[in-house]
């Protein structure tokens, strides 16, 4: 690879910018922590040079902005050195959040596909439901989250027919109520994408199906569905990220004690900046992995359907 091709490649550009961002982060942690640290050090009797203060800003235990390596060390300690089943391990909390994310994502995708099929097949449904589906997303669901949590939790554990039928313990009920929020956020991109996808066959192709005397169901399964699969995966990538946001936020207002959202809340009450940042970083990694996983499944499915690998 020649130098000019290296300079023009996307990976190189991203890498350089990430390095610049980390450098800015280090500078920022000097700037933001300087006042606190110099105040703290001035209480000692010994004199401190500016170099001492600078080094301390990067290793202070209660920083305003922790330096990247502090966050990395904390992340390393809380994920890889502790047994994952322990409550002090971030992996344990990540798993709690991930389980409601995945459940919510699956429920949201199924709901989204069902709604999209109904909307495409029934003209009245498209007029009735579509405006409300769009309006549903202008409602700040995260404001509704506490109520949805209380409602589903009571429905699943309280004194009523549904609860007695299901016999759920409180952990499962909490999981489902958190997944409900994730579902609400993740069904929308799937509906919109799938309606577009199921409507994407051309008139010629639909006419061909009619000349074959195909039923509505046959047209759906043999023409509309295969055409919509790329749209499905594109919208599922958005949906899985939205689902993670929903699961994290669902843990905020309920006083949950486990899960990434709960760690954020506890960190914020205790003023533990390093803990907050490592939770955020882990959530970012999780989001990236989830989107990547959908992409891998997409490639497998699309290539089995006979598409040319790109």
């Amino acid at each position: 690879m020649t130098v000019s091709r290296l300079r023009d490649s996307q990976v190189f550009a991203v890498l350089v910018l990430v390095i610049v961002l980390v450098a800015v982060w280090y500078l920022g942690s000097i700037g933001l922590n300087w006042a606190v640290v110099s105040d703290r050090l001035s209480r000692d009797d010994t004199a401190h040079s500016w170099w001492d203060i600078l080094l301390t800003t990067w290793n202070y235990t209660r920083p305003i902005l922790p330096a990247p390596h502090q966050v990395a060390v904390d992340l390393w300690n809380t994920t890889l050195t502790i047994d994952p089943s322990s409550k002090r391990s971030l992996l344990y909390h990540a798993w709690i959040t991930l389980s409601s994310t995945l459940l919510g994502f699956v429920m949201g995708s199924v709901l989204g596909v069902i709604l999209a099929v109904y909307i495409v097949l029934n003209r009245a449904a498209s007029r009735t439901l579509m405006p409300w589906i769009i309006a549903s997303q202008t409602v700040p669901i995260l404001a509704v989250a506490p109520v949805v949590l209380v409602l589903t939790y009571n429905l699943l554990t309280g004194q009523n027919a549904i609860a007695q039928l299901l016999h759920l313990n409180s952990d499962a009920a909490q999981l489902i109520s958190k997944a409900t929020i994730a579902t609400y956020l993740s069904f929308f991109p799937v509906v919109v994408g799938m309606v577009k996808g199921l409507r994407s066959p051309e008139v010629l192709q639909l006419d061909l199906m009619r000349t074959y005397n195909a039923t509505t169901a046959q047209t759906l399964w043999q023409l509309r569905w295969p055409t919509a699969v790329p749209f499905l995966f594109a919208s599922m990538k958005v949906a899985v990220a939205a689902s993670l946001v929903g699961a994290i936020v669902a843990e905020l207002p309920t006083g949950a004690v486990s899960g990434l959202g709960a760690r954020l809340l506890i960190g914020s009450y205790n003023g533990q900046m390093i803990q907050i940042w490592s939770v955020l970083l882990l959530a970012a990694v999780l989001a990236g992995l989830l989107v990547l996983a959908v992409g891998v499944i997409e490639r497998a499915v699309v290539s089995r359907m006979g598409a040319r690998p790109t």
Partner: protein, 373 residues
């Protein structure tokens, strides 16, 4: 009339018969028969007569009138009993089916292009919304659902009226101060940065993947950090909104600035127009649909960000604060009142941005074709 519509009509007839036969509800120890109240008896009878007269093929106007009448009867009957019986639920189902039939019939006629009344398309979704509200009211009050679980719409409305000044104060704190200022700063900075990096292919290559990655992240998580940096009052919420709105705007604006084709740019060059002139007269207008797309996405993100940031600490006013404390006190009526306000604010905010979009990008095919979304 399609087979589906015929099925709906038959079901409506069946549930009308059941509504007449089965008991309406219980008051104290006595079971009320449907005959105890005239409207509860008359409405299913009218439905049956009309279905017979038109041999199931109810015209849209008649089924619409039946749906409206059904909603009124369902609401009026709520005072007649303490706990609803099966007859009442059949009444509700009859009204619901009448509304469904109306929606099906009207959309079929609209698709054939028979009605040319302006604004008629709005009737269908509104009918659905009203039907949901009536069913909610009937279900919660008729079934004696505890208000801790789900309050009725009338109770929520009563709470909005009685707590109006408090709701207005929360609205000012959260929306006027935090959301609007954060929304303007975040979008303006996102747009300016997009214009700035647009001149450098290197920055564009590097920042776009990072930008799209960051906009998929759970950015609301920075809320506790912002609360610690900027304090409990609204600036910390505005800061969260700025960060949440910045990345969608950056990614969309950069994509929008690149939609002009070489021919259009060459034309501008042949006019000897400067970079600024090309930007303002060609590239920004061409990018407008993308910019408005970001503005619409951001209108909901902004409200979410401000409300969630209030969960982490706030002065004793604000929509997120009110919701989290009212949930703690099990004051679910107040929570729903606050949700109703936030839903209204969110929808109006989105609607205003969409209206401005229609005005600014009137030339775009999606607007000219009369299609929204």
């Amino acid at each position: 009339m399609s087979r589906f519509e015929r099925v709906l009509a038959v079901l409506a007839g069946l549930s009308a018969v059941l509504a007449i036969v089965l008991p309406l509800g219980t008051k104290g120890d006595t079971t009320l028969p449907t005959g105890a109240s005239l409207p509860a008896l008359a409405y299913p009878a009218i439905v049956l007569v009309l279905l017979a007269v038109f041999r199931l093929k109810l015209p849209p106007a008649i089924s619409g009138a039946l749906a409206g009448l059904g909603g009124a009867v369902v609401l009026l009957q709520l005072d007649q009993f303490d706990l609803a019986g099966t007859g009442y639920w059949c009444l509700v189902v009859t009204g619901w089916l009448a509304a469904w039939l109306f929606v099906e019939r009207l959309s079929a006629e609209l698709a054939r292009g028979e009605f040319r009344v302006p604004g008629i398309g709005v009737v269908v979704p509104i009918m659905f919304g009203l039907a949901v509200l009536v069913a909610w009211e009937a279900g919660t009050r008729g079934g004696n659902v505890p208000s801790v679980l789900l309050p009725s719409p009338s109770a929520i409305w009563g709470r909005i009226v009685s707590n109006f000044p408090m709701l207005v104060a929360d609205f000012q704190q959260t929306f006027i101060k935090a959301v609007l200022s954060g929304y303007f700063i975040g979008n303006a900075v996102g747009l300016l940065v997009a214009i700035a990096i647009d001149r450098s292919p290197f920055l564009k290559r590097g920042l776009l993947p990072i930008g799209s990655f960051v906009s998929a992240l759970p950015l609301v998580g920075i809320a506790p950090i912002m609360v610690m940096w900027f304090g409990f009052d609204w600036p910390s919420k505005a800061a969260v909104v700025v960060i949440m709105t910045f990345f969608p705007m950056l990614v969309n604006a950069v994509a929008g600035l690149n939609v002009t084709v070489a021919m259009e740019r060459d034309l501008m060059r042949s006019y000897a127009s400067s970079y600024g002139q090309t930007l303002i007269k060609l590239r920004l207008p061409a990018a407008a649909p993308y910019i408005f797309n970001a503005l619409k996405i951001n209108s909901t993100l902004a409200l979410i960000g401000a409300i969630v940031a209030e969960f982490f600490g706030t002065p004793v006013v604000g929509m997120g604060f009110r919701i989290s404390t009212a949930v703690g006190r099990m004051d679910i009526d107040l929570v729903w009142a606050e949700i109703a306000v936030s839903a209204l604010v969110g929808s109006v905010f989105y609607g205003v941005v969409a209206l401005i979009e229609r005005g600014v990008t009137f030339w775009h095919p999606s607007i000219r074709g009369g299609e929204t979304v």
